[in-house]
Structures are given as structure tokens and as C-alpha cells.
Amino acid sequence: MEQKPFSRGLLSSEADSQRTLYPYVTGTSVVALKYKDGILMAADMGGSYGSTLRYKTVERMKSIGKHSLLGASGELSDFQEILRYLDELILYDNMWDDGNSLGPKEVHSYLTRVMYNRRNKFNPLWNSLVLGGVKNGQKYLGMVSMIGVNFEDDHVATGFGNHLARPILREEWHENLSFEDGVKLLEKCMRVLLYRDRSAVNKLQIAKITDEGVTVSQPYSLKTFWGFSAFSNPTAGAEGSW
């Protein structure tokens, strides 16, 4: 276990431009759940630049190897860096050419180590990652945060999804959801996020991973309803300056 001596202190103001200080272009929540045949994962296609909804066609879910699907929220450039790390990992795995391939558990373990290691060097990858997959019929769904906190569960969500989607999933998720029910449940979560998360955009993808492989849907939008009478006269019943 090496430890570099801290010559200037950890929070030096000198041009220590190599460290991540704040995220710049970020993705918002990712929500995922286990269903009968595998994992379903949903994420919108937005890339925010602070409060500006700058990019609206960002793919925040990517397949990794044959058995895994990675979704990310947080700094998008760090996500792209992680994809480069994983490309190399999968490349070396393929080069063994031994009929075995890294499954979701292994990829999740690798990502946990990478995130924890960067946190130890005070230069984190500013992401919350969702890793789902199926290998030999075994479903796996896990999450890693930017400081290395990781766990697996039947359903996970990042960012605002933790506050808005997880309670819905806790109430309505059950074992052996059908594909249609799983998609309906995810759409319900994404709709709530669309209404309540200001960095959400109405263009999302849902990805499915089963033993047969990964399918990422074409981008589509959710139907929303804004015709509530309370919106047409917001101050009725509570006159005021706001």
C-alpha cells in the first residue's frame, strides 16, 4: 500500500488543474430494475451544463462486453473516461480467447475499485454508476457512487431517482415482472422524474439486458399532462406576490 507524501496539502490553490473540482456537463438520474428475464434500465438523454439543458441526445447507457449494461449519471466526460477503461478491460478479456468472459459481478467489482481508488487520490470520477447484467441465467444489478460506496439490489436509482423513483419501486416491484410490466413501472418512475427534476429532459431510452444480449430502445418521449385547473389560475385561494 503506497502513500505519496502530501507536499503542498490536499487543497492547495496552486494550479493543481489535474483534480476534478466540480462537474461541468452532467447527466441526471438512472433507474434500473430486475425483471423476469434480466435487467431493465432507463435514463434520459439530457446533458446539462449547470442550469442549461445543453445537450439533448446523450447516450448515458452503454453495453459492456457480452453480459453487462452500464448507466451513468454525473459528469459525462468522466463517464466517457470510464468507458475507455472498460474498453481496455474487455479487450484484454477477449484476448485470452478462452471461452470465458467477464460477467456483471466482475465489471461491477472492477468499477468499484476504480472509483474508490480515484477517491483515495482525491481526484474522483464524478459519477454514480448503475451496472446491470445477466450471465448464465444469473441476474445482477448494482450501483457504485463517486466515493466508492457500492451495493446490489433488486432495483437501484441514482441522484433524484433515489428520492422519487425508489419509493415507487419499493411499493410496486415484485419478483418476475414481465417485460411489459417492467417497462410500465420504469416509465412511471421516469414520468415522476420528468415532472419534478428540473434537469430531466423528455427524451429517454430504455435498455434491456437478458441472456440473449443487450437491446437499447430508440429514443422516445413520455406523455405528460399539464392541464390541471390549478395551473390556469395558480393564485386562486392564496393571493400573493408569488
Binding site: M1, Q3, L10, L11, S12, S13, D16, L21, Y22, T112, Y116, R119, N120, F122, P124, W126, M143, S145, M146, I147, G148, V149, N150, F151, E152, D153, N162, H163, R166
Partner: protein, 223 residues
């Protein structure tokens, strides 16, 4: 030129409580299975207990990533020990290793609050309790984590541990039977769950005795 303030913390508290009680020929180690961050529950089914050696089990609460790293490190060191000495590590040996490992990171600590439980070289129950930087002590019982302030006074009352300052040195091991100790642990966690928001969901109890290791679960309040 203003000094950059870090706007992220390398630490987080993922909550939870751990307890261990040493008996004449057994040791009970227990922890809840809730993992939280802030006011959110991340998962209700996360084990804080890990088997380090045949006769040595550790329960840890605090910052989960550090706990995981610590568990991995100790498991690796145990494997090396087995290769070098052709035997399992005893509990007192593992206790010292854990202390040294924690102190190694004295200036960027593992935010991990541990209790080590197992059987000593004579087959008697032993419990070691730690702080985050490796200060440790062999005791008859201990609790760490978010509910420890609620649990320890109750254990003090029920287990009537003799003062370590008395001479001649008195045994801290409880005269309770194994099933009585397990019942006490269940009671203690049910109480801690009522008042500590970070403790709850499910209780995992591991019992180490001459027959080996047994594990049981009990539901706790989910709110």
C-alpha cells in the same frame, strides 16, 4: 486568488449498528442490514458481517467503501498467512492485524467502526472493539456504529461487566447461555431500531462455537 474549497467529501456515513458478546464457549456477533446515505435508504439487505478466519468474524459499520476495502485487505493478508504458516489465523492474531492495518492509515483513516468476535486459542469467546484508527481492547461485549450509544448502556446493565480496574483481574465473559445471549441481542436491536433512524430492516446474527458458524436473521422495523 481564493483557496479552492473541496465541495465533496471523501467520507460518507452509511450507518448501521454492530454488537458482539463473548460467552464461555461461544461468541455472538450481530449487525443490522440497512445501508443508508443522508436521509435515504440505499438498500435494506446489506451484510456488515464478514468471516475473516474459521474462528474470527468481524462486524463493521461506518463508511461502506472503506469497510469493503478493509475486509478485502484482511482477507488477502489471511490468505498469505495461511500460505506461509499452513494454518488459520487465530482471533487474537487477527485482532492485532486489524489494529495495525487501521493505524497504517492514521492520517487518512478508514472510516470503519469495527467489532471483532471469535474464539480465542483456548476456545473461550473473545470480543475486540476498535475505533477508526486502530485503538483496541479485548472486552466481554461491545457495540459500534450509529446505534451504539443506545445499545452499550443497556448491555452494561444486563451483562454487569466487572470493572477492568479491579484486582485480581476478573473475567469479562458473560455467564449467559448461548440462547440467552442471542435473545439479548434481538432485544437490544429491536430497541435501537425504535430510536435510531439508521438502524433497522433486518438483523443478521452469527454465532461462533465449537460446532462452527451458524447464521440467523430477524426482521426489524423498516421505518
Amino acid at each position: 486568488m481564493t483557496k479552492h474549497q473541496a465541495n465533496w467529501s471523501p467520507y460518507d456515513n452509511n450507518g448501521g449498528s454492530c454488537v458482539a458478546i463473548a460467552g464461555a464457549d461461544y461468541c455472538v456477533i450481530a449487525a443490522d442490514t440497512r445501508m443508508s446515505t443522508g436521509y435515504n435508504i440505499l438498500t435494506r439487505d446489506y451484510s456488515k458481517i464478514t468471516k475473516l478466519a474459521d474462528k474470527c468474524v468481524m462486524a463493521s459499520s461506518g463508511f461502506q467503501a472503506d469497510v469493503k476495502a478493509l475486509q478485502k485487505l484482511l482477507a488477502a493478508r489471511h490468505l498469505i498467512y495461511q500460505h506461509q504458516h499452513n494454518k488459520q489465523m487465530g482471533c487474537p492474531a487477527m485482532a492485532q492485524l486489524l489494529s495495525n492495518t487501521l493505524y497504517y492509515k492514521r492520517f487518512f483513516p478508514y472510516y470503519s467502526f469495527n467489532v471483532l468476535g471469535g474464539l480465542d486459542n483456548e476456545g473461550k469467546g473473545c470480543v475486540y472493539t476498535y475505533d477508526a484508527v486502530g485503538s483496541y481492547e479485548r472486552v466481554g461485549y461491545s457495540s459500534q456504529g450509529s446505534g451504539s450509544t443506545l445499545i452499550i448502556p443497556f448491555l452494561d446493565n444486563q451483562l454487569k461487566s466487572p470493572s477492568p480496574l479491579l484486582l485480581p483481574v476478573q473475567d469479562a465473559i458473560t455467564p449467559l447461555s448461548e440462547s440467552e445471549a442471542v435473545d439479548l441481542v434481538k432485544t437490544v436491536f429491536a430497541s435501537a431500531t425504535e430510536r435510531d433512524i439508521y438502524t433497522g430492516d433486518k438483523l443478521e446474527i452469527v454465532v461462533l462455537n465449537a460446532e462452527g458458524i451458524q447464521r440467523e436473521f430477524m426482521d426489524l422495523r423498516k421505518d
